[in-house]
Symmetry: C2
Subunit: 321 residues, 2 copies
């Protein structure tokens, strides 16, 4: 565990139950599935999505066991997308840990991802209300559609802010929103509170992804002050690039139009994005979504769950990894 | 269309509706998803699984539109596994048509496969009874688990008949059985008829997969009399190999233990499998499952759907591709 939830020991314990539920569901299966699932769990970071299911459920009367299973299902969905993303990117490491794809080959990575997908749907069908089960599968289709469109966007310099926001809404914010909504709905929160928590999830997700895309520039190289830009290297133009282009004097567009790129020219392009205010303006945008999150939270009833949401909102904005 | 259903024009028309439902569900999405789905549909063969949903539903009072959607969902699931299998196998062609993976790269193949998975679950959640939706997701998890175990079995000469049968039960027969069951159940067939149709699906699926594995030996090279054995080349020991080993004088085991193999030595190994009666005994096994299928069919009420099932059962046993 990354220690992200150290200040919330009750939640950290519940997340341990979620991990156990995921391990249990792999138990009956092939030992290769078990080993792969354990490995994915180990390289797993903050477990934000299941934490959101649990936190949102605390605004109602949470049926503990069911919430644990639903939180597990949502994390399995996320794990499935990670397993498949790593194949797509050919990534050998994720958060410094060897990827499934690198350790066990693409065959196992594809199949274990599929297994996680199916097990997620199976768990949701068993433990969640029918409408939540429907919402989940619709949303997964939306996430995949949005990923295909990101594929299509590669090296398209004209990528607009609106298109970027739509893409991350479909990819990250939708799953955050659903995590909040499902948690609230399953614990019997009234409709307006479900909607508020869903909106909160959406704003947190938008802010989270923007920060993620900024960190991709400042990356592990942040300590050395050298921007990295893995997305840039892959021809994916995220918000710092797009906002840099809005304030371009022509040099950035010219730099982006030259491919394939050496590490040095990538680093020059990234520096140009910083110079044209791309990072600073992206930070402002993330701050705007965070402000909207704070506003949604301020309307929630006071208490421990609200305090936890306030804390995590700030932590996500100011994180460096 | 392969012309497989030419003698059943009513069914062929309904399968056209199924194709259209699949195209429609991709409509709202990205144009890349649409193009990929169309392409997968074009290279699609017999559409057995949706045909089974429709045929089984005809033993009850089928709600036509819902059955079309459920049949579409099950075909999308099958298409998803094909898209992902092609990545795993690195296959450039499937039934002589370029694979998605070859045409659009692994990224699109992974994502379109995931999109198909999710859309399948979404459609089932919208149109099928909750218990069918649960059965579907459990079964997909089972299929993936069984594929992972096939991975683990590669180059393991001791592979037993029992293990092989369990593997194809999880992979092919389970989806055939589910197709029949869901069709019967959704059109209000009584429980004992649902069970009978499910058993029929299981036996048809077992026979189908055994024939498939035999055809992999006789393959496209059947005309020239030269066995091919793509599975063998990949180190997957299917039933002809396993049954050949049961009657081995030591030469086959020795041949299988030598890797990597040239095309010539593969062809010699395949000839040895034929010589040790592997193909003939596999055909007997397929015939036994077909006989069980015939018996299940004989207990169904007479009429057009039963006649169609009788015809397709024989056609599947005697097919050459």
């Amino acid at each position: 565990m990354s220690g992200f939830w150290d200040e919330h020991p009750g939640l950290a314990r519940q997340l341990e139950d979620v991990r156990q539920a995921i391990r249990d569901s792999a138990q009956s299966d092939d030992s290769d599935v078990q080993a792969s699932v354990s490995q994915l769990l180990e390289s797993n970071g903050k477990m934000l999505r299941p934490a959101f299911v649990i936190l949102a459920s605390q605004f109602g009367a949470p049926p503990a066991d069911r919430i644990t299973r639903i939180a597990a299902a949502i994390e399995m969905l996320h794990m499935a997308t990670l397993a498949h993303d790593d194949i797509i990117d050919g990534a050998a490491l994720r958060r410094g840990v060897a990827t499934l794809h690198a350790l066990r080959g693409p065959r196992t990575a594809v199949l274990v991802g599929d297994w996680l997908f199916a097990s997620c749907f199976s768990m949701v069908a068993d433990f969640a209300a029918v409408e939540n089960s429907r919402a989940l599968s619709q949303m997964v289709a939306r996430i995949c559609g949005s990923e295909v469109s990101q594929s299509a966007d590669r090296h398209r310099v004209s990528t607009s802010v609106r298109r970027y926001l739509r893409r991350i809404a479909g990819k990250t914010a939708a799953l955050f929103a659903l995590s909040f909504h499902v948690g609230a709905h399953e614990s019997g929160c009234p409709p307006e509170m479900c909607s508020r928590l869903r909106r909160l999830g959406y704003c947190l997700g938008m802010g989270f992804q923007i920060i993620d895309d900024i960190l991709d520039f400042e990356g592990p190289g942040a300590d050395t002050g050298k921007p990295t830009g893995r997305d840039l290297a892959e021809g994916i133009y995220t918000i710092p690039t797009i906002l840099g282009l809005k304030n371009d004097d022509g040099r950035l567009a010219a730099a982006l139009s030259r491919r394939p790129r050496s590490r040095r020219s990538l680093s020059r392009t990234a520096a140009l994005i910083v110079e044209r205010g791309g990072i600073a303006r992206a930070r402002e945008l993330a701050e705007r979504y965070t402000e909207r999150s704070r506003r949604e939270i301020s309307h929630l009833p006071c208490g421990q769950p609200r305090a936890a949401l306030e804390a995590v909102t700030e932590k996500l904005l100011h994180r460096t990894r």
